[in-house]
Symmetry: C2
């Protein structure tokens, strides 16, 4: 789990890194970690336009970071793998340490 090829780096970027490279998507991932939710609810609780939330969820879905479960008219989204939060938390720690060091 140490060396990495350009191919695998590209894969990693395509599937995960690119997906978390937006503050609003980070916000959505943490919200879904609290509890599964749907577009309307997320839109209200995060104070973001509905189309924006839907678009971001689509990206997260395409990258397999979330899963969608349709029940009637509402679609409940939830994390596909909570380990993504572990990765984000590790980065939070890195950032926090870095800021404290200054």
């Amino acid at each position: 789990m140490s060396r990495i090829s350009l191919e695998e780096a590209t894969l990693l970027h395509q599937h995960a890194c690119r997906a978390i490279a937006d503050p609003k998507r980070i916000l959505i991932l943490y919200a879904l970690n609290e509890e599964p939710s749907n577009v309307t609810h997320l839109s209200e609780s995060l104070q973001l336009p509905q189309s924006t939330v839907s678009r971001h969820l689509k990206q997260l879905l395409n990258h397999d970071l979330v899963i969608a479960d349709r029940q009637g008219t509402t679609v409940t989204y939830s994390l596909a793998d909570t380990h993504i939060i572990d990765a984000l938390n590790t980065m939070r720690q890195v950032v926090a340490d870095s800021l404290r060091r200054q």
Copy 2:
């Protein structure tokens, strides 16, 4: 370490997520995890143009993910915090699991 505000999400994005949102920078981070190195050496071993490597290192430096140590004409870059590799490895695992699941 669970809830997060838009402000902190933005901070996290600015400092870490944006920095790793490029395959070549991921490659560079893993290379530096193997051993500290300089622009020329990285440029050769990763088969990337010198200006490209220098530009990416500058971004990583600005985001405090690497540190620079100038000795004469050469500048040795190394990871500021190896935990960033932990975060990347966690994401590799998430991606690998996701691909395997399909």
